[in-house]
């Protein structure tokens, strides 16, 4: 009896405290909103936003709704996160492997990179790239083209835009390549199981991926043209690029800083993963006659990936969350567009901040759930 009370009482008290706090907040919020004459609700989302956004992946202007502005911000956030994740993974893997290099100079350089970039606040790095490094770039009219087609200027990076003809055929060719690769993989597996023969699946796949799209170009009527950015004089002092694809400097600075910063953490994950495999595993694999490549593919990587992937996913999440620093250099991400501009215009603090937080929370929770499931499915079975 006594122990039952001791178990239930703290729970009731905590629950009561939580309910009271929330009740207090809602009560105050109600009064505050009444005083200001605001009605709580998400109806404003369908209203006309009447503000512009500098950079958008989808069609958007002031006549669209707040909901569309939200989508613009979200897509911009996801764009930064996506590019950042790719670049940071590449750098992270290279640096992580370099950290284990027997070459003293390479190991030290990699260590220097890691210690340097991870001990400086990310925001400072973003500011540095945006306000100091990129500002040192030439004006549009003074920029020298890189390889004749890229223009890196203070206004951003201008690259050729792809102009496709019969793009659908190109896609079909890629789909065909993917399908045939799957078929060949299955066939190779069966062949291996029944006759022991091994096909060079990797080279065949790579070949198919190149040859089929190539055929589409040669005989399928697909053509790819480039629209090269051309400098145009607006007035005596103002120049701009016409055509091509302009990547705003905010996006460059943000992605660069995020990628360089997160790569240091990914590098450490990679290093820990590879170091986590005991020397004995390698020796045992060698002693049964596997070649170095086979050892890497069949013994080291499957084990190392199990150690590397969970913390790395965590870093991807951090990168996505950190992309919210975009607001500091006015890159129109979710926080700037929605929790910034839209909030200023509507004054709906509770609704907008809660939607923003809920968005990030859903991304985080979805990825963690996926990760937990993945971890369980690959966990090495033990007693």
């Amino acid at each position: 009896m006594n122990s039952k009370i001791r178990k239930i009482l703290p729970q009731i008290i905590t629950l009561l405290a939580v309910v009271l706090i929330f009740g207090f907040f809602t009560f105050n919020a109600q009064i505050n909103m009444d005083n200001r004459g605001i009605e709580f609700g998400y109806g404003f989302l369908s209203q006309e936003s009447s503000f512009d956004v500098q950079f958008s992946l989808i069609e958007y202007d002031g006549s669209h709704s707040y909901a569309r502005a939200y989508l613009v911000g979200l897509l911009n956030t996801l764009l930064v996160a996506f590019i950042g994740i790719i670049i940071s993974t590449i750098i992270g893997i290279i640096v992580g492997i370099a950290r284990l290099s027997p070459n003293y100079l390479i190991e030290r350089s990699a260590a220097f990179y890691v210690e340097f970039f991870r001990n400086i606040p990310l925001l400072l790095q973003i500011f540095f790239w945006y306000f100091a490094a990129l500002r040192a770039l030439p004006l549009p009219q003074d920029a020298d083209p890189i390889f004749g087609v890229f223009f890196l200027t203070i206004k951003g990076l201008f690259v050729p835009r792809f102009i496709w003809e019969n793009l659908d055929i190109f896609f079909y060719s890629i789909i065909a390549a993917t399908v045939s690769i799957t078929v060949i993989r299955n066939y190779a597996k069966r062949l291996q199981q029944n006759e022991g023969k091994q096909l060079p699946v990797f080279s065949i796949s790579a070949g198919l991926l190149i040859i089929l799209p190539l055929l589409a170009f040669l005989i399928g009527g697909v053509s790819l043209n480039f629209e090269i950015p051309v400098l145009e004089q607006m007035s005596t002092t103002s120049f701009k690029y016409n055509g091509g694809l302009g990547i705003p400097p905010e996006l460059i600075a943000l992605t660069l800083a995020l990628a360089l910063y997160t790569a240091t953490f990914i590098a450490e994950c990679v290093r820990a993963g590879i170091q986590g495999i005991s020397k004995g595993q390698k020796e045992a694999a060698a002693s049964i006659g596997l070649t170095p490549n086979q050892i890497l593919k069949l013994v080291i990587m499957p084990q190392a990936l199990r150690i590397i992937i969970p913390p790395t996913t965590n870093q991807y999440l951090n990168l996505t969350k950190n992309s919210s620093l975009a607001a500091a250099i006015a890159y129109p991400d979710l926080v700037l567009v929605f929790a910034g501009t839209a909030l200023m215009q509507t004054g709906r603090a509770i609704e907008i901040v809660s939607i923003t937080m809920f968005t990030y929370l859903s991304i985080s929770l979805a990825i963690s759930a996926l990760m937990n499931w993945y971890n369980k499915s690959i966990a090495i079975k033990e007693k």
């Binding site: 004995g280 045992a284 049964i288």
Partner: protein, 244 residues
Amino acid sequence: MSDKIIEMKNVNKWFGDFQVLKDVNLDVNQKQKIVVCGPSGSGKSTLIRCINRLEEHQKGSIIVDGNELTEDTKNIEKIRAEVGMVFQQFNLFPHLSILDNCTLAPIWVKKMPKKQAEELAMNELKKVQIVDQAKKFPGQLSGGQQQRSAIARALCMEPKIMLFDEPTSALDPEMIKEVLDAMVSLAKGGMTMIVVTHEMGFAKEVADEVIFMDEGMIVEKQPTKQFFANPKNDRTKLFLSQIL
């Protein structure tokens, strides 16, 4: 008849400034069983690790089954495939089931069809009596079972020589016997074996010759009976008195 399968001539090896092997000479004939013993740090593990070139010797020559081991040995994998090795720490691959551990090398090195490899593996697992555990993962087995699986894994490559690097020293006492039994039956089957161990009972039962190493040198090499009955060297005597 008794052609040499391993020939080591004046093998020397250093770890930095420390010389682990000093002018080691050793010939092993086919079907011969040799037990290597000696205090820790005497170079016995290094000696057998040199035979499948997990360690590189720096001076002298090692010839395994007619192939000399040098830097230029391109097909070192081929030689390793003929030399099975069992480690102190088992070193099974934890992400693969016991059966997959055993079939990995036959499939990838010998290009054997999977079915055939599995039959072979089950056969070898039967010899070490863990057929019923084949689908389990290494982490689910006891130390003794793991070590027997490791023996089976090495046997699946149908090696000509088996090397054992202190196979029982990481095991709990009650599990040592099951591993030794597996090794004894392997020896009775006519395998060429070099075993680094302190299990003198095992040495007496199966070894043709016993080698005593100290400070990187082969101090004594004698047929088993004489080694135990009549050791010549003082260090051997001291060692035997401590261990028996």
